[in-house]
Amino acid sequence: MTAAPTTADAAPDANVYRCVGSITISRAASTQREIDAAPDPLVLDLSGVEKMDTVGAWVIYRAVRDRGAKIVGAKGDVAALIERAPEFDHPAQVRPEERPGHLRVMEEIGGWVVEAGQTLVGLVSFLGAVLIGFYDVIRHPRRIRWTAVISRFDLVGVRALGIIGLMSFLIGIVVGQQGAVQLEQFGAEIYTINLIGRITVRELGTLMTAIMVAGRSGSAFAAQLGTMKITEEIDAMRTIGVSPIEALVLPRMAAAVIMMPLLAFYAMLMSLLGGGIYVWADLGIPPLTFIQRLQEVTPLRDLWVGLIKAPVFGFIIALTGCFQGMQVEGNSEEVGTRTTNAVVQAIFLVIVIDAVFAVFFSQIGWI
């Protein structure tokens, strides 16, 4: 293709751009560039065009529309394609309009505040609905769905044993190792046992279990209920007269509340096991001494502190998971965002409440 400034019969003094071969999408960019480079007034000679597609026609039409170029030598199909181009000339926006920066920041902040408020109100009203459902079920115990509850016990509790056990075992080792390194500097390695015993039983056992359950089960609750919302299963349930709270939410709440203390206790044991093996291997403290010393330095109260928190954490995890799942509307993408929200909110709330518990227990003298 050449852009030779020759004189055509049609328009003297005009620049003739000769298009040859195929003017299709694969040559759209180069053709456009060459047409842009040719100076006005422009004549497009299409007599040499063998093949043209809609994009090629558009490139030619553009030159006519924007620069008043003249077309010569267009035949048959080529002429027809170009003639039809203006029919579809309805410029459409490609991206939604963007507001100026400062307005956008304000809009975003406002959006967050409104959303946070709505989530809080929604969570409280969902809590109310759950409590009413719970009250109804307590009054009519025959309505408890035992099969659903038992299968949730299995999914939330039994199947989490492997991963929570491994995680806790490793945490015990890490606490022991880090404690030993620091305390060795003061010749106080023996206090590593105090550290392992108190921190895992009082704090880490329950907290890490809660985080794992939030990631494993809280997310599953949100995703399951969210998918059921999209496939209209929950609507179908309602029309049949089954309460989704009773059939879906309560078994999950029960499973989380009952399984959390059991899992937390198991996690504490596994952490102590990990810590015990570490001090045996590294500091040469035999298991029997470790257990004896553990009994001396870890008050039973620490166990209660750890175990009292567990069902509360379980309740929060199940509540946010089910709440977010029930909020899903529209498309499958929302299942993903809601599941993320469920996990983030559950872990956040668990840590906030853990802090509240920490202050509470030290105030009542359980130090």
């Binding site: 456009q32 553009r62 490609v94």
Partner: protein, 259 residues
């Protein structure tokens, strides 16, 4: 109409586990025709389309599209074929994080990265207008569109590269009768204008009568018959008779003759 074949399928076999979907299936699609593919639920209409476009690897058989063998080829070679066809999936399959116009730009950007944004945006607008969407649909996200608009947006994306061959999977399913008729008209107009070959899976008898040049019937794991509806009516295959001569089939035929 030339009788050059654009898709040739020979001895196609597909199965999922023990369940055999296609067994020794043959089909030819001629250049420039609108071929309707019909069959009961579960006869593997979508699987057939997926085998042709390379999303499903058949157990056995040959598939040739545009004179190129589709089975067992490298992904790089297949790219040259992929830009010569467009596919409209059942629910549009639009990318949900992109606007409608950006969706249309995706194939163009992929194959022709040298096309500059102003021209690219104009091409996208052009295709959007061509598929019958209003200009204000351009900056919308797929979740903001109705089912019919989503299909038109999917069609605009399928047409982005000026394909020779268009695959449509139940384009009128889920549309109201007015929308479905408008979509039929659109496909027919585009097919004439762009000289497309259309492979159309449908359940819609009105669509079959209105726009299909030939109809292929899938039954008993094979294509049992291909031809115009009149030709098919002359056969005494029980499923075909029931399909076209059932109450709905007769109503669709009457509707067309009433026009």
């Amino acid at each position: 109409m030339s009788s050059e074949t654009i898709i040739t399928i020979r001895g196609l076999k597909n199965s999922f586990g023990d369940q055999i979907i296609h067994d020794d299936l043959d089909l030819d699609v001629r250049r420039g025709e609108i071929l309707g593919v019909v069959g009961g639920s579960g006869t593997g209409k979508s699987v057939l389309m997926r085998s042709i476009i390379g999303l499903q690897i058949p157990d056995a058989g040959d598939v040739q599209v545009l004179n190129e063998n589709m089975i067992g080829r490298e992904e790089d070679e297949a790219k040259n074929i992929r830009r010569r066809w467009g596919v409209l999936f059942q629910n549009g399959a639009l990318f949900s994080t992109l606007t409608v116009a950006e969706n249309v730009e995706v194939p163009i950007r992929e194959y022709f990265p040298f096309i500059k944004p102003p021209l690219l945006d104009e091409i996208a607008s052009y295709k959007i207008a061509m598929s019958g969407l209003p200009a204000n649909a351009g900056p919308k996200f797929p979740s903001e569109l109705s089912g019919g608009m989503r299909k038109r947006a999917g069609l605009a994306r399928a047409l982005a590269l000026d394909p020779e061959l268009l695959f449509l999977d139940e384009p009128t399913a889920g549309l109201d009768p007015i929308g479905a008729a408008a979509f039929d008209d659109l496909i027919m107009a585009l097919q004439k204008r762009l000289e497309l070959t259309v492979f159309l899976i449908t359940h819609d008898l009105d669509t079959l009568w209105a726009i299909c040049d030939r109809v292929a019937v899938l039954a008993d794991k094979k294509v049992v018959a291909v031809g115009t509806i009149e030709e098919l009516l002359a056969l005494d295959h029980p499923w075909i008779q029931e399909y076209f001569n059932g109450p709905r089939g007769r109503a669709a035929a009457a509707g067309l003759k009433g026009h």
